[in-house]
Amino acid sequence: MATTETPLYGLMAEFYDPTSLVNAAQKANEAGYRVMDGYSPFPIEELGEALGYRTRGRLPRIVFLGGLIGCVGGFGLQYWCAVIDYPIIVGGKPLNSWPMWIPVTFEMTILVASLAAVLGMLALNGLPRPYHPVFNVPEFRLASRDKFFLCIEAKDPKFDLDQTRQFLEKLSPGHVYEVES
């Protein structure tokens, strides 16, 4: 009855401290596993490197682009309103009295850049995501408290249920769980 079985998302090993997780991630990376992720209750700087991620992401560029759009958009709005659409002399100032427009331009820069930072972070992380297979492991709820998990996904070309399980067991985890997808 192999067809009715729930397909496997991956194998998940549980650890009790950040050092074990980072060591395990490094060993898995060295063993040739690529499609995997580490889960921890707080950011661990060394973990990304151990998993083999590139350290620099796209987010800073997105935020810079957001700031640029805000800056040009904010200034452009004021220029268009005060010089092109409704030119009116106020207090003898020139129509393009740009020093008076710095506050609004500045605020718009910060606003759009901040929105880009938050929405960009969520979009790159694929959030909000109502369902994810890792939550099928009941013990995974401790990942937001004091436990650390390494999950090697079934999509990994090197994934083999028995061999990968043996590999994970060798890393001396607390448990190894099968993650249903």
């Binding site: 060591n23 409704y86 506050p103 992380n125 937001s144």
Partner: protein, 463 residues
């Protein structure tokens, strides 16, 4: 090995630690999370919430009457057109600044001690900005036309005057409110996931689950999360400075004597931080006592905040000195006259009370015994809050009540409706704060985990 100091042992000077020893990931998570997840609230919470709720009802009453009758119910009049509304606007928005300062500037400066106070300080920012935002709206006379201040393609085919500081205010305050809310929410996401995973009843699991948006603590997520937090901190830092600078422009662009000293922007920003840190202390001291959080908000935090209070008090006093100096050195008769009116005129009591509150009282903070006493710190913070309110009163009222011609002089007396509105916004602030400490973790749980010594990864130093 990583070169981070282990914070729980405290620095060598024998200062108290930023987290009491003996905690683990589990105890930190459970201690802070249980305040929210526990069924029912303590009796003190209900009493406090009830009183602040009553004040909010008074605010609604005052606002309804204002909408029915107009701003004539206030004490404002022909020379003094800016009364309590502007005083309280500047006071509230200043209070908000300490939250952003703690969460953004201290994050960039890698100050670990900010961790246990940043969450409720940011909440305080949001609520203070909400209270501040009410005042310019209701001050407009016809508040239902507030949207005329924003650039939108109206059928009248005219645009707001972008050369006006009041339009700058709209952009500055709304940007500040938005960015503060974003910063606060992004900081909450991992903790909302903790609450989702720890809550026992279905409703709270669903609500916190939706708010946590499926956060699962993946390494890739954490990495982007950290980058986003750092970038937001970098954006929020100049924003804080700019907001109060724009608020000071509201005054300095005017031609009233006493309003256009070039010291205004930095002096306003320092005053904001001063008032804000006083408010953080006013909130932190009772919270740690009531909820038993002395392990997390230690004497070190209170001591550090007291030092910030002392330092910003000196900057503010420098501002007072410069105002006095400029009025004499400028040789401008109106400036000089205004200053004499401020120190000896009908509002002299306010000026001398202000110096008593903001110059004399904080000097007590030089003594380490005072900095260690929570009662003394609470009392000083109350005095400082009153002093900063008086400062705004002095700036707004003395200048407006005595401008160029004696024929346009007049006195300002706040009415019962001024006071009710003011008390009402204090109630709104407290009510939001009570709801916050009941439903959201008041200390950042995941950041508390990172300052534990066991969070260090051994053998993978990156230096």
């Amino acid at each position: 090995m990583s070169s981070h100091p282990i914070p729980t042992t405290g620095p060598p000077g024998g200062e108290p630690p930023i987290l009491a020893p003996g905690h683990s990931f589990a105890t930190v998570s459970d201690k802070i999370g249980s305040i929210v997840l526990k069924r029912g609230a303590p009796r003190g919470w209900w009493i406090g919430f009830g009183i602040s709720f009553a004040l909010v009802m008074a605010l609604f009453m005052a606002l309804s009457y204002l909408l029915a009758r107009g701003t004539g119910i206030w004490g404002i009049n022909a020379p003094v057109g800016w009364g309590f509304a502007i005083i309280n606007f500047v006071w509230w928005i200043g209070i908000g600044h300490a939250g952003t300062l703690i969460s953004a500037i201290l994050l960039l400066l890698k100050q670990d001690w900010r961790t246990s106070i940043n969450r409720f300080a940011e909440a305080m920012t949001l609520f203070a900005v909400a209270c501040a935002g009410i005042y310019p709206l209701i001050h407009m006379g016809r508040p239902w036309f507030f949207y005329w201040m924003t650039p939108y393609p109206s059928t009248m085919a005219i645009w707001p005057n972008f050369r006006s500081p009041l339009v700058w205010d709209v952009f500055a305050v709304s940007t500040y409110a938005t960015v503060s809310a974003l910063f606060w929410f992004i900081g909450l996401i991992p903790d909302l996931a903790t609450l989702r995973d720890r809550s026992k009843n279905r409703t709270s699991r669903i609500v916190y689950g939706m708010l946590a948006m499926g956060w699962r603590g993946s390494a890739a997520h954490w990495h982007r999360y950290e980058v986003a937090s750092l970038l937001l901190a970098g954006l929020a830092t100049p924003l804080v400075v700019s907001v109060h600078t724009v608020v000071s422009f509201d005054f300095t662009i005017g031609i009233i004597p006493g309003w256009h000293a070039t010291i205004f922007p930095p002096y306003f920003v320092a005053g904001a931080i001063y008032a804000g840190f006083a408010m953080v202390l006013l909130i932190a001291i009772p919270l740690r006592a009531v909820y038993g959080l002395q392990d997390f908000i230690t004497e070190r935090h209170l001591g550090n905040m007291a030092k910030v209070l002392l330092a910003t008090s000196m900057i503010v006093v420098y501002g007072y000195l410069m105002e006095a100096f400029f009025s004499w050195y400028s040789g401008n008769a109106y400036e000089r006259g205004m200053y004499l009116q401020r120190t000896t005129g009908p509002y002299a009591w306010a000026y001398w009370c202000l110096l008593l509150c903001n110059l004399v009282t904080p000097q007590l903070l030089w003594f380490s015994r005072v900095r260690r006493s929570t009662v003394a710190l609470f009392a000083i913070s109350l005095v400082v809050s009153a002093g900063m309110w008086l400062e705004r009163f002095v700036i707004v009222v003395t200048s407006l009540s005595r401008d160029f011609l004696p024929s346009s002089w007049g006195m300002y007396y706040p009415t019962i409706w001024d006071w009710t509105t003011y008390a009402g916004t204090i109630g709104l602030f407290l009510m939001l704060l009570f709801l916050f400490i009941r439903f959201l973790p008041m200390i950042s749980i995941f950041e508390m985990r990172t300052i534990l010594p066991e969070a260090e990864v051994e053998g993978h130093g990156h230096d």
